[in-house]
């Protein structure tokens, strides 16, 4: 079947980015203002715009959505009132959590507080039951007592139920039996089972994930079903309506409504997946995804074709154990503030001016200089089209603020102060990337920095120099890169069975039996999603650890080549690569089996293959005055300002120059050059 219209929308805080392939296979993109009060409005507004442009609703084949509804609901603590059902006698699992404070400055905070409990103490219900470590029933489930306690929840405005019993990942009978009671006593209230949402060992992380899922369900369900209905109202018929998941794959709207916790990294995953696709297409294997916006900067490092996946992560101090792309978020963006304290010390961040009041140059009431103001004052950032629609940059206000708030207190000239702020923020980002690379044992010299987001391409050439990277790659449409990543995503389901066992005690039949069962589940789910067997791809993994370790590593396996010695060798090798050593004599334990079912969607075209973007008329750069650091001395340059569409393929352009386009500005500093590659990407390298 030939693909028809494919649409992706990535909802951000200020704008929602739309990209789509029309029936002719041409790629389009645009932005509409986000509508945080009712986020579905922006999505519908954009879809309507696409239809008004001539796209026939009936031709829409796929719709993919990156959403922040779940993340925002959690951050703002606006979820539904949730009751938590736990094993009797174990309420400390929820309240004590990890027992520790986060590492870092919190250790010195005498007033340290955990994030607010999403479930009140009074909404925690203890159920008489207990499963043991082998899945055996240690204490039978007291059905009558359970019913009595659940009935007490009636009339309490409970909107969601979370159930998490000890060892339910190995025997879920009690959780399921209690679910049945809940559905009878409290009909219509959504229930999340820990054995369903994340059947992993380690009770606190499983419980936390279960609670967050239940807490988000009412809101996410309303949002997605509202969106679903309105899409149908627009005449869109396809049932391939997907939502981006934290793991870099997509899942159907109906599945996502039941598993909102799996969308918490939805927004970030799009960017990482986009970066991977861009690298793959350009034939580059080692890359850093660098997405810098107004308040923060999201960084991910990759080697090879797949995203680094982690099994546990935190949002605002809350723990989630579900596979998610590994992204590091740094507090560094265009809005990052710079100030001088009472002891004449310069500070750059982590505080940010945010969208309001924003940089001084935006004229929205900001009076503290920001990173953006420094970029404006030095001449790097001009009146880009997109900025101009909403406001005019006030260059003299930015300069005045830098002079008054930074240069005078530091007894420096204005250009030195502005250059200094940029150096400090660049060093901070560079050091964070270095630490990230070191934690993975990577040597960055061969890495390509894939730079996007509103502010990324302004900083990436200096970061490349600081980190001694191979090159910077700025994709053709850096402002909608995350949305393009969505357009390329495949359906992905993970099926997990946790069965701790010494690796040496296992027989090949144990592996094939368990993996076979999981595989059958994956095939069944993908069939429901409408995929034929040819469109399915299966990945199988075993989660292993050295005895006594607190985490596992996944080892890829093939169904027919499973033998214990081979698995052991693979595990030792992966461990050595990741951590620099292997413990060859230490016993290895298998903790979980994992099957990842992927439903591959046929693409019209690559979303990233733009080719050269030449305009018909030959044009010239305009010249602006800018200041760069030359051996520690602020030096004035005549800075050529090119429109991206005016650059021609096959030419090298020497720095300094800036390249402007609708959604971002790319800066190339003296001593570097830039060219357009075969796919329309800008490539920046050092001249020597």
């Amino acid at each position: 079947m030939l693909a028809k219209v494919q649409i992706a929308v990535d909802t951000g805080g200020t704008f929602s980015d739309f990209t789509y392939f029309d029936v002719a296979g041409d790629l389009h993109s645009f932005k509409v203002p986000s509508t945080p009060e009712s986020p579905e409005k922006a999505v519908i507004n954009g879809l309507r715009k696409i239809i008004e442009s001539g796209v026939v609703a009936d031709d829409v084949e796929i719709f993919i959505h990156g959403t922040t509804v779940g993340t925002n609901t959690l951050l703002q603590e606006h979820g539904g009132r949730t009751a938590l059902l736990i094993t009797e006698g174990f309420d400390a699992v929820y309240e004590v959590q990890e027992q520790a404070r986060p590492y870092g400055s919190e250790i010195f905070n005498l007033k340290y507080q955990r994030p607010k409990l999403l479930v009140d103490r009074s909404d925690v219900v203890e159920i008489p039951e207990r499963i043991g470590s082998q899945g055996e029933v240690v204490r039978g489930l007291d059905l009558a007592e359970a019913r009595k306690r659940i009935e007490a929840l009636k009339g309490q405005d409970i909107e969601a139920i979370a159930i998490c019993f000890l060892f339910s990942f190995i025997n879920s009978d009690h959780e399921k039996a209690v679910q049945a009671i809940v559905e009878e006593v409290l009909p219509g209230i959504p229930v999340t089972l820990s054995s369903g949402i994340c059947p992993f060992i380690r009770e606190y992380y499983r419980l936390s994930t279960t609670v967050i899922n239940a807490y988000l369900t009412p809101k996410m369900d309303r949002y997605l079903s509202g969106l679903d209905n309105e899409m149908s109202g627009l005449g869109i018929k396809t049932n391939k309506r997907y939502v981006m998941q934290s793991n870099g794959g997509v899942a159907s709207i109906s599945n996502t409504a039941r598993r909102p916790v799996s969308t918490l990294m939805s927004g970030l995953a799009g960017g990482v997946m986009a970066s991977l696709k861009i690298l793959e297409q350009a034939g580059i294997s080692s890359g850093i995804s660098f997405d810098m916006g107004g308040t923060s900067c999201d960084v991910a490092v990759s080697e090879g074709r797949s995203a680094e996946i982690r099994d546990r992560f935190e949002i605002d101090g809350r723990h989630i154990c579900l596979p998610s792309v590994q992204v590091e978020t740094l507090s560094a963006g265009g809005g990052t503030l710079a100030w001088v304290d009472d002891l004449s010390q310069l500070h750059v961040g982590p505080e940010s001016a945010g969208a309001v009041p924003g940089p001084v140059a935006y004229g929205r009431g900001g009076d503290t200089p920001t990173v953006t103001d420094c970029n404006v004052a030095l001449g790097y950032l001009g009146n880009r089209a997109e900025v101009a629609e909403h406001l005019t940059l006030d260059v003299s206000a930015a300069k005045a603020a830098i002079s008054e708030k930074l240069a005078i207190p530091l007894d420096l000239d204005e250009a030195t102060a502005a250059l200094g702020v940029l150096k400090v923020i660049d060093i901070k980002m560079s050091e964070a990337i270095r630490a990230l690379a070191t934690s993975k044992g990577l040597d960055l010299r061969d890495f390509t920095l894939v730079s996007f987001g509103g502010a990324g391409p302004l900083h990436s050439s200096r970061i490349m120099r600081e980190l001694n990277l191979k090159q910077v790659l700025v994709p053709a449409m850096p402002g909608v890169t995350s949305a393009l990543g969505l357009l390329e995503a495949d359906v992905r389901h993970e099926f997990i069975r946790t069965r701790p066992n010494a690796l040496n005690d296992l027989q090949p039949s144990d592996f094939s039996q368990t993996l076979g069962k999981l595989r059958a589940e994956a095939i069944a789910q993908l069939s429901v999603d409408g995929f034929s067997e040819e469109q399915m791809r299966m990945e199988m993994q075993l989660d292993l650890r050295y005895q006594g370790q607190g985490y596992e590593l996944s080892v890829d396996v093939e169904m027919d080549t499973i033998d214990v010695a081979y698995i052991r060798k693979q595990f030792d090798a992966i461990h050595a690569k990741k951590f620099g050593h292997a413990a060859l004599t230490q016993p290895v334990e298998l903790m979980a089996y994992r099957v990842i079912g992927i439903g591959v969607t046929e693409r019209k075209n690559s979303a990233f293959n733009k080719g050269p973007l030449n305009s018909s008329e030959a044009s010239q750069a305009i010249i602006r005055e800018a200041v760069f650091d030359v051996d520690g001395v602020p030096t004035k340059f005549e800075l050529p300002v090119w429109q991206r569409t005016d650059l021609s393929q096959g030419s090298n352009y020497d720095g300094p120059l800036v390249i402007e386009q609708a959604d971002t500005t790319t800066l190339i500093v003296p001593g570097q050059y830039v060219f357009i590659d075969d796919f329309g990407n800008l490539i920046v390298r050092e001249t020597d």
């Binding site: 006698g89 174990f90 400390a92 699992v93 309240e95 004590v96 990890e98 027992q99 520790a100 404070r101 590492y103 400055s105 250790i107 010195f108 905070n109 005498l110 007033k111 340290y112 507080q113 470590s133 000890l166 060892f167 060992i201 380690r202 009770e203 606190y204 002891l343 004449s344 010390q345 310069l346 500070h347 750059v348 530091l410 420096l412 030195t416 250059l419 200094g420 702020v421 150096k423 400090v424 060093i427 901070k428 560079s430 050091e431 270095r434 630490a435 990230l436 070191t438 934690s439 044992g441 701790p500 005895q547 006594g548 370790q549 607190g550 951590f579 620099g580 050593h581 413990a583 004599t585």
Partner: protein
């Protein structure tokens, strides 16, 4: 002299260097102690042994490096240290290690053939010999019973690890591979740091780097002094009692401090603290200084660069022969309860001067150790080692938390499902003891109960706890928390355990119940009736 931008750039770079060293160590460390408990720190020091930059994971490690590096300089002399050297030290009296398992690896950095920096790391080792696995015997009465001690020794020369030293370590540790693996990880991370310092010197110039460091050390001291100046001049006394030293049971041991604040000067005088203890709860002055630094950093509530300026911003007086400046061979493997007491006493006194320091006591920390016979033919034994907090203390603005570490300790709890999967143990209960936190306008954090059943005969149980006699103290009129308790076989034949006992045999069906202490409250409980009566 460098301008303030260069100062910030170079110090941000140095913070990056120690962070990178730390990541390298966490990644390549062999034992779970480093990789998961993160019981390890890294630092860059000046050639005379002052901290230029440190990544703080555990606050206590702040005081360790200067003393340890100075011990190396003293032992080898500035000219006896050569490129390609690396040194090892873990002696609490000669260096600054809290106890023998905390081994320091120190590498000199040469720029233009001059000794220009030291890079160092400290990491807790799984076992360094001595009478008990893990090297920390609660019954030790001298340091010779606390594992193997290394004075300042060169163990790498011209880049080659000494075969002799390695073989001595391997022969004396119960876990030779883990210990040597971790030491190699420490060496590796020092080399990462050394490489980065050479690069920074080449890029910015060694002189500038040194100036930026020296200026920032002065600046940090200045920031702390300016914050201290805002407090009223005052002299205040603080003290805390500990249950006992584990040897002479039931005799409380006192930590006492007089804090004097005048202008921007601040001093902690511990002269009135008890004499050195027979049991292993003594700590060396380097730890006392780190503990005081903790109270100062916590009280000023302002983010500062971590360097020598913090340690130099105040004075500490300890009395030779006391618990806090013991003489050889006083033992010290169980240092945490004493450090908690020093911090709590320090905050007690500081809180009378600066309201921002006022916080009720938390429940400090404790560990339970279960040892099991391995299956037939398997050598050695399996050991489950868990560290527990209890309720944390309240402040005027914040309540205490149930089961949350305070002060310098921060170990994560072991999941029940992991524990039961790996060991013949069943947890019968893990529940919050509700409303046990000390009352107050802000309430202390609740205690919790954790109850274990041994599923086999021949289990050996040890407890190293604290605050079973002495309750966590409330502040500003808030009530005290509740002391902790450990009971063997609760019921008719129950026995209450002392806070420190070792090797209690358990049979299948035997039960151990731990109730942690709860945190102290802050502020008087608002009394409605009283208020009405007054009106």
């Amino acid at each position: 002299m460098v301008d303030s931008i260069t100062e910030e750039i170079l110090n941000a770079s140095l913070a990056g260097v120690v962070k990178q060293m730390q990541e390298a160590l966490f990644r390549t460390g062999f034992s779970t102690i480093i990789r998961e408990s993160h019981d390890a720190s890294c630092a860059v020091l000046t050639p005379d042994g002052r901290v230029a930059s440190q990544h703080i994971v555990l606050p206590l490690h702040l005081g360790v490096f200067p003393v340890s590096v100075r011990a190396i300089i003293e032992a080898y002399g500035p000219t006896g240290i050569e490129p390609g050297d690396a040194f090892l030290i873990n002696h609490p009296y000669i260096g600054g290690s809290p106890h023998a398992p905390d081994m320091c690896v120190i590498v000199p950095v040469f720029i233009d053939r001059n000794l220009s920096f030291f890079v160092a790391s400290i990491a807790h080792k799984s076992d360094i010999g001595g009478p008990v696995p893990g090297s920390c015997s609660g019954k030790a009465t001298d340091i010779y019973s606390e594992g193997m001690h290394f004075p300042a020794i060169r163990f790498v020369q011209n880049g080659v690890v000494s075969v002799e030293v390695e073989s001595i370590i391997r022969t004396n540790s119960r876990t030779p591979d883990l210990v040597m693996g971790d030491i190699r990880g420490q060496l590796g991370c020092c080399h990462v740091g050394s490489g980065r310092l050479q690069e920074l010197s080449a890029k910015y110039g060694y002189r500038k780097l040194v100036d930026a460091i020296e200026q920032r050390i002065v600046a940090v001291k200045k920031i702390i002094h300016s914050e201290i100046s805002l407090w009223p001049d005052h002299e205040a006394v603080g003290d805390r009692l500990m249950d006992d030293d584990g040897i002479i049971i039931g005799v409380p041991i006192k930590v006492a401090v007089v804090v004097k604040k005048q202008g921007s000067n601040l001093s902690f005088d511990f002269s009135e603290t008890a004499d050195q203890a027979k049991g292993p709860i003594n700590i060396r002055p380097s730890l006392v200084r780190a503990a005081c630094a903790y109270t100062v950093i916590a009280s000023i509530g302002r983010s500062i660069t971590v360097n020598q300026g913090i340690l130099d911003a105040f004075d500490v007086i300890t009395r030779p022969g006391s618990l806090l400046e013991p003489e050889l061979p006083a033992p010290m493997n169980t240092y945490n309860p004493t450090v908690h007491a020093v911090i709590n006493a320090g905050l007690d006194a500081l809180g009378q001067i600066a309201p921002s320091s006022r916080r009720a006591d938390g429940s400090d920390s404790r560990s339970l150790i279960f040892g099991f016979q391995r299956k037939k033919n398997a050598p050695g034994s399996a050991i489950s080692y868990e560290i527990f907090a209890g309720g944390s203390g309240a402040t005027a603005e914040t309540p205490g938390l149930p089961g949350c570490h305070v002060n310098q300790t921060n170990g994560r709890i072991t999941p029940i499902e992991i524990l039961e999967t790996e060991y013949p143990l069943r947890i019968r209960q893990f529940s919050v003891l509700k409303e046990t936190g000390g009352k107050g306008s802000s309430q202390g954090g609740d205690a919790f109960r954790r109850e274990y059943e041994s599923l086999t005969n021949g289990t050996q149980f040890s407890i190293r706890s604290s605050r079973h006699q002495i309750a966590p103290r409330g502040v500003s009129g808030g009530e005290d928390g509740r002391p902790g308790q450990a009971i063997l076989n609760p019921g008719s034949e129950q026995r209450e355990l002392a806070s420190r006992e070792i090797n209690i045999p358990l049979d299948a069906g035997d039960i151990v119940r731990l109730d942690t202490p709860s945190g102290g409250g802050c502020g008087q409980v608002f009394n409605m009736q009283q208020k009405t009566a007054e009106a």
